[in-house]
């Protein structure tokens, strides 16, 4: 009966393999992106020109900020659907507080330089309110932010009576329309935000706590993490990033469009999840999310340069999302929830 102990069941080899895969999962989309660049270059001579690539980056800059915010919110185990409305409302309200009613404003007459700080403040307020309703009142995050999606867009319509605001102070347009060192400021801002985000989520205790909370918030609490405070902060940061996206978009369009941001939330989720962020929380990296954004941007640009009619682009986009999901599913070998 005293048999020699049989060797442990799972052979070490596959385990290590799994480990290695997991570590490089953030990079999963890099080959896809390279492939897309090659395809683009083959199909169109102008694809790899700096102008075209900058155009892709610029077009994706606003989306990428929303994805950054949403990715952090998803990692911490919540979601915020209202981001897309914040993109429109915050600039609209800030501008309306400044311009006279003849230009569609509210006749409050704040000084023009207040536009930017006001706008950011509105972002803080929206994120804070979402956090209050979710954490303190105890409402479902999905539903609260769904309600806010409607409410905030409605507020924008109510304030502007459905008009786009065109008398936007120059200072407010600056960020979205200027160029620094040959690159649009919007691109720089994204780069800085992502770099900061990646650093914080990787090297700061506060950042790591997002993963702990998203993975198991009870365990995080028991480990001494102030869960509510972190979640609240993340929701506010997400809203502020949406506001920045809104500021950039306002600069890019030269006005606050009545529909600014409408429908973006679908793309935000698509990019984040394709980039490896789990809807269940606690998983994924910001680098992955960024590559999701880039991938979708490149696909769209290739289709557009190919002269694929806009009517087919949407279908291709949907197909790409599903395809990407299937590829991810088989690459990780895990069923998704």
């Amino acid at each position: 009966m005293t048999k020699a102990m049989s060797p442990p069941v799972a052979a070490p080899a596959p385990e290590k393999q799994k480990l290695r895969l997991a570590r490089y999962q953030d990079l999963a989309l890099v080959p896809v992106i390279i492939l897309l660049l090659i395809i683009g270059a083959i199909l169109s001579p102008i694809f790899l020109t700096p102008n075209n690539l900058i155009a892709v980056l610029t077009q994706q800059s606003e989306l990428s900020l929303l994805v950054l915010g949403q990715a952090m919110i998803l990692i911490v185990g919540k979601m915020d659907l209202s981001l897309e409305s914040t993109v429109g409302l915050a600039p609209a309200l800030a501008v309306a507080l400044i311009i006279p009613s003849s230009a569609g404003g509210l006749d409050v007459g704040f000084a023009a330089w207040l536009a930017l700080p006001l706008c950011l403040l509105i972002g803080v307020a929206i994120g804070g309110l979402n956090g209050f309703l979710i954490l303190k009142v105890g409402l479902s995050g999905f539903m609260v932010t769904l309600g806010m999606l409607t409410l905030l867009r409605g507020l924008q319509l109510a304030i502007t009576e459905g008009k786009s605001l065109i008398d936007v102070p120059e200072s407010f347009l600056y960020l979205g329309s200027t160029t620094w060192l040959g690159l649009p400021a919007a691109v720089w801002i994204c780069v800085v935000c992502y770099a900061a985000g990646i650093f914080v989520l990787k090297y700061l205790r506060a950042g790591r706590s997002l993963y702990a909370i998203g993975g198991n918030s009870e365990a995080a609490r028991a480990a001494g993490i102030r869960v509510d405070r972190v979640v609240w902060t993340v929701l506010i940061i997400g809203s502020v990033l949406a506001v920045i996206a809104g500021i950039l978009m306002t600069g890019r369009l030269g006005s606050v469009a009545a529909t600014q941001g409408e429908g973006m939330i679908f793309q935000v989720f698509a990019a984040a999840v394709i980039g490896g962020i789990s809807l269940q929380g606690g998983k994924g990296t910001l680098f992955g999310a960024l590559s999701g954004v880039l991938m979708l941007g490149l696909v769209e640009q290739i289709l557009r340069l190919q002269g694929v009619s806009g009517f087919y682009i949407k279908a291709s986009y949907g197909a790409v999302i599903i395809l990407a999901l299937i590829v991810t599913r088989f690459a990780t070998g895990q069923k998704q929830e």
């Binding site: 009966m1 005293t2 048999k3 020699a4 102990m5 049989s6 060797p7 442990p8 069941v9 799972a10 052979a11 070490p12 596959p14 385990e15 290590k16 799994k18 480990l19 997991a22 570590r23 990787k202 090297y203 700061l204 205790r205 506060a206 790591r208 993963y211 702990a212 993975g215 198991n216 009870e218 365990a219 995080a220 609490r221 028991a222 480990a223 001494g224 993490i225 102030r226 606690g282 998983k283 070998g333």
Partner: protein
């Protein structure tokens, strides 16, 4: 000729590249209670899923009372042969007891569901098996014991004469376990066959006649319980000679220095409890599920807010209801349920182990080396510090929780069910850690339903309805402790 309630032969099952069962067999004689034991991950639950038709084996066959098992698709045929209370609860919490009892047969064969008839039948069924719950209650409002009884009643009501119980006692307290065993014995008298899985070996001796041991996916031995001594059993399970060797700690040096002082603490389900723990002292807390012992321990650690009283460590008062404050004051905790509160399963061993202690900056290399240290000091079986804890077996996961609790070198340890669901060998090493910490001058509070855990303590306090009703010094007898837990403390006192 003996009749077999269930026979599995040559069963092999792999999950991906994990071999969960390797050509194993089991023969369960009709009318007996057959124990299946083995360390965490030995393949017990996998065998259960094959015996109940939830999974198909890669190779091998199963038969019931001489008949080959039905095809996998025919789930109702399976249910006639075998009933099971799974390790994971299989009730639907938001449905009523009555509906859960008749789940997927609510129409009672009549096409349309008559809710009145269903309620009546449920009442009858519950009465038959002597389960005192309201058939209209939602299952989510039941206690663990009541829920498990509902599951057992349901299993038996389907009419199968063969019942599998996978770790049914893991979540029950002492009296509830006794009641369960009484029920098992009386059903066995009526001819029901049991396959019983547990990590508590003494339970095997209490209710079973035959025992089968699996180890590392293989069948090791099957023998009458009477012929297997406890050390033999443990040897079969672990492959190593020598029985369970839990340190009793009676030679621990004691010190007069008070580390933890709890004065007049009240909170959820307990009131006005005072106690103090000295350096090197291990205090046990025992009591039934409703005694308030968990709530008390969680309050000490800051997971719950006290309604009155103070907690102080080394003389300074700790803010109540604030885990970070407790950590800072030097309290470490193994929370009640590792899946719920202990671990973030998707994160690595290193990250889980350092979660409470990381500084503002997290250096991956430093974290990894802290993880490696934890793996070495707590004897965690793992591929490395980067491995997600979800990959570990239950016992090894529990060790990571312990590592996290001890990571900040706290002066007070609060350990709630530290060895729950853990196999004998792992239990030994975890209790060894507690003893070693005490020897290093830490104070510890161990809250547990398991007598083995309490043996390591210098004294044991028994809680009843939220108050300390008795205190036992080292050397208590099992029977007197159990009686005290059940609430007979005063009577015992007067009787003595």
């Amino acid at each position: 000729m003996t009749e077999y309630a269930a026979v599995a032969r040559g069963v092999t099952k792999t999950f991906g590249r994990t071999l969960a069962l390797d050509d194993v067999s089991i023969e369960i004689r009709a009318g007996e209670s057959h124990a299946l034991v083995g360390r965490n991950g030995a393949g017990k639950s996998t065998l259960v899923s094959i015996l109940t038709g939830m999974q198909t084996p890669d190779a091998g066959e199963v038969s019931f009372f001489g008949e080959p098992a039905p095809p996998v698709a025919d789930s109702s045929a399976w249910r006639r042969h075998v009933a099971c209370v799974y390790q994971k609860s299989t009730v639907v919490p938001e449905l009523s007891v009555a509906e859960n009892l008749f789940i997927n047969r609510q129409d009672l064969g009549g096409g349309l569901i008559s809710w009145k008839k269903l309620r009546l039948q449920a009442s009858e069924l519950l009465e038959t098996y002597d389960v005192a719950v309201n058939p209209e209650s939602l299952v989510s409002t039941l206690t663990v014991e009541q829920r498990q009884l509902v599951e057992i009643a349901r299993a038996l009501s389907i009419g199968s004469r063969f019942v599998i119980l996978d770790e049914p006692t893991a979540q029950l307290d002492g009296p509830a376990i006794e009641r369960l065993f009484d029920r098992m014995r009386s059903l066995q008298d009526k001819g029901v066959t049991f396959l019983f899985i547990s990590h508590h070996l003494q339970e095997v001796y209490e209710v079973c006649q035959t025992v089968t041991v699996y180890r590392d996916a293989r069948h090791i031995v099957t023998a009458p319980v009477a012929e297997m001594s406890k050390p033999d059993l443990i040897e079969a399970m672990t492959g190593e000679a020598g029985g369970l060797n839990v340190p009793s700690g009676d030679d621990r040096p004691s010190s007069p220095e008070e580390v933890l002082t709890v004065s007049a603490l009240s909170g959820d389900h307990f009131s006005d409890i005072s106690l103090s723990a000295r350096k090197g002292e291990v205090i046990g807390l025992a009591g039934s599920a409703s005694s308030g012992k968990h709530e008390f321990a969680e309050t000490v650690y800051g997971l719950r807010k006290p309604s009155a009283g103070t907690i102080s460590v080394n003389g300074s008062v700790v803010r109540g209801g604030d885990v970070p404050a407790a950590l800072k004051a030097g309290i470490g905790c193994v929370p009640r349920d590792r899946h719920h509160q202990g671990l973030v399963l998707d994160l690595s061993i290193a990250e889980n182990a350092t979660m409470s202690t990381a500084g503002a900056f997290v250096w991956p290399s430093a974290q990894r080396s802290a993880g490696s240290t934890a793996i070495a000091s707590y004897d965690v079986k793992a591929a490395g510090p980067d491995q997600p804890v979800s990959d570990l077996s239950g016992g090894n996961q529990q060790k990571v929780v312990m590592a996290r609790a001890l990571a900040g070198d706290p002066s007070v340890l609060v350990l709630i069910n530290p060895t729950a669901g853990v196999d004998v060998k792992s239990k030994e090493s975890l209790l060894g850690v507690v003893d070693a910490q005490a020897r290093r001058g830490k104070a510890a509070i161990v809250v547990s339903d398991e007598l083995d855990d309490l043996r390591v303590c210098d004294r044991v306090l028994v809680l009843f309805h939220g108050q300390v009703v008795r205190e036992f010094a080292r050397g208590w007898r099992d029977q007197e402790l159990i009686s005290a837990i059940e609430g007979f403390a005063e009577e015992m006192d007067t009787a003595e």
